[in-house]
Symmetry: C2
Subunit: 420 residues, 2 copies
């Protein structure tokens, strides 16, 4: 496995682009009420991304579990019914959800993308992220798509990654190669984090490209197994968006022997995809709204992976734990308390808890009871950019890791204080 | 039903007291490391409460659902096995949980209370709230209990209510009378909120006294029905403490005919107890840590009460909704989004959402889609001390109300920034 540059255009045969079309404009946009305090940073920001493959692709996707699903998800589900696609069109600045004509607009985005690229509307995956409840400015997208198509290039991943950002402060992009059946296979991905955009919710989007030849069913299997162990283990604020989507397009241009079984080739592909998703999951957690640090909670020696995951997720999801981590305060009682209400079975009297980071590790709870520890050393460990909360249940052989971030003044500011 | 003064000493035959014994001292307390920034406000604060009945009482209780339970809960469960008790001893400043000798200390508190009052140790309910993971300063309690017993009085409810406060900013105390079988029956209660105390978690405690004559089984039934509809519908930050407890002592001194069946007398008692709990639940939510306003979410026209409750709880528990309410921002999309991930069934396309407060009501979403509304009017509605989020599912005949508070800078400050 080797990290390479190029993001979604690292795999053979994929081109991408990202342009500003005006959905994010904010001022003078007939679809949105005037917002005197619309941040200037959004002015002219890229808001339309396009990814296209030279060849038809095998496609697989997973969608938000939220009962309220945005229109683009339904359109994408429809287009992927045959397990095939050849392109992705996505906008930021408007979620095209719970708004007038959202289904028609999602369909229209695919038709406009098809017209601009010479493909069919049903070849496209469509995604939106941003404000919900306001009508999408389709005219802006209509104007922008020919420009996006013209800009498609083998260097376009960076522009596409930028065009799907909302409150993300850093671009999420990765590409990795591995060897399958003697051929070099590349997997590239761009993502946007579970940050929220004014005035409503945001989204986790992840677009993955690969030149691997793999059967659709196996690609979908891999997604269904890996997403719950990576993206679904990220908690920024416990809110699940209406627009979350993770899509993989595989065009087979690496010319590896088609992966049709869960053989060695599948294992290599699976591990590489897992690595890609885990890196993006960590990046999304670290870039959670207002986040000052990445929290990683590992629960080990559990009876089952499910219990371990539930416990770890409760810890990184606890507002009290998150606030304590913001203050670099070794409040291990909050960790044990969060585990207690997670509904996962465990024996409190067996539990050891340690805090760790780049500068060291310190045990703060042994067999469910507090131990004396050096508060200054703990503070120094917790003051790092990545803090690990290590829990040992001493009960079994399973483990799980979840990711989150601290709860900061900036989170409250971004999500509450925006217009005041 | 009539509101009266007197709190837990309003019912006949109950005395109460609250004193400072030193658990909360902070400085120079051998059990706790020196804390240079321990707030001065804790100095000399009341930290030991005692409630005693002249006559033996029928007793009923409910406890935290947290798998990690503090020692006093186990001791109380043991003492209430026979359905009887005559007193309550409680301290604040230390949760007596996950700490050395916690079980022995909880037992000792009952023995010391018994020695000071002439009752038996097994007559006592014992509760603690405050720091977890640190050994309780039993010497302070030993010193304080004779003083607390000497201070017992028919005017002592206020002192007791103060003695169980931790980060609460206002005392929670209520008393109400009703008529059962021609006799005036009083129900009094004190509570402390689900605020948290440095450096660990806090607790919801509620101690209820009544002079009603009621069979133990019915008292327990009433508790089991009312607590889920009141206290369990409060969300401050989603964390459930290890020490939560709600106890009712009924001494029968009102001389009403014993309530033995779910007859009219039971209905009156039930409604009165429900009122007491609902008022305290609202007070706890309004006094959530750092809270600036009380949020009430009512979900109506639901298929079942369970669905309605799940939806309402998701709304008041959403960090995004809470932060929006802090900013008085009419982000109804976050309300719909929270409903969507609540796992309760509903039809998004039927949903109406309105925001209301003392100054008016405004519909922001109709049939699952945004409607034009006056942003200034919405802001003015959301700027009040109590904001109601009214959701209509247009699906059935059930409803539920849940309470919470906004997410503020102060919440983060109280829980994260304490020692920095």
């Amino acid at each position: 496995m080797k990290q390479v540059s190029g993001g979604v255009t690292a795999p053979k045969g994929f081109k991408a682009s990202g342009v500003h079309c005006g959905v994010k404009k904010g001022k003078g946009d007939g679809n949105q009420p005037p917002m005197s305090k619309m941040p200037e940073v959004l002015e002219g920001k890229k808001d339309l991304a396009l990814i296209v493959s030279e060849q038809p692709c095998t496609a697989a996707a997973v969608y938000t579990m939220n009962r309220v699903k945005a229109a683009p998800l339904y359109v994408t589900m429809d287009h992927l019914e045959n397990g095939e696609a050849q392109g992705i069109v996505a906008n930021s600045g408007n979620a095209n959800a719970c708004a007038p004509n959202s289904h028609e607009h999602a369909e229209a985005m695919c038709e406009l993308a098809a017209a601009a690229t010479g493909l069919k509307a049903s070849d496209f995956v469509v995604a939106s992220t941003g404000v919900i409840g306001r009508e999408l400015n389709l005219a802006a997208i209509e104007k922008g798509l020919p420009a996006a198509a013209a800009a498609l290039s083998r260097d376009g991943s960076d522009a596409a990654a930028n065009a799907i950002m909302t409150t993300d402060t850093v671009k999420k992009e990765i590409a990795v190669t591995c060897t399958v059946g003697g051929k070099t296979v590349a997997i590239g991905a761009i993502a946007k984090g579970s940050g929220m955009i004014h005035p409503n919710m945001g989204t986790m989007l992840c677009f993955v490209t690969t030149d691997c030849a793999i059967a659709q069913e196996l690609l979908q299997d891999a997604l269904h197994e890996i997403v719950p162990r990576t993206f679904n283990r990220v908690t920024v604020d416990g809110d699940t968006s209406t627009n979350d989507m993770c899509v993989v397009l595989a065009n087979g241009m690496a010319e590896n022997p088609l992966i049709e079984w869960k053989d060695d080739g599948y294992t290599v592909f699976y591990k590489t995809l897992h690595h890609v998703f885990e890196q993006l999951a960590r990046a999304i957690a670290a870039d959670g709204e207002g986040a000052g640090k990445l929290l990683t909670c590992t629960v080990g020696s559990a009876r089952s992976e499910e219990s371990a995951e539930r416990l770890a997720k409760a810890v990184v999801g606890s507002s009290l734990v998150k606030a304590a981590m913001f203050g670099s305060d070794a409040n291990w009682g909050r960790v044990l308390c969060a585990m207690g209400y997670s509904k996962a079975p465990f024996r409190p009297e067996f539990v050891d808890i340690a805090f760790a980071s780049a500068v060291g590790e310190i045990t703060v709870c042994h067999q469910g009871s507090g131990v004396d520890f050096d508060e200054e050393a703990a503070k120094s460990i917790l003051s790092q950019d990545e803090v690990i909360i290590r829990v040992n249940l001493h009960e079994g052989e399973h483990a799980a890791t979840c990711w989150g971030c601290d709860l900061t003044y900036d989170y409250v500011k971004i999500n509450g204080d925006y217009r005041t």
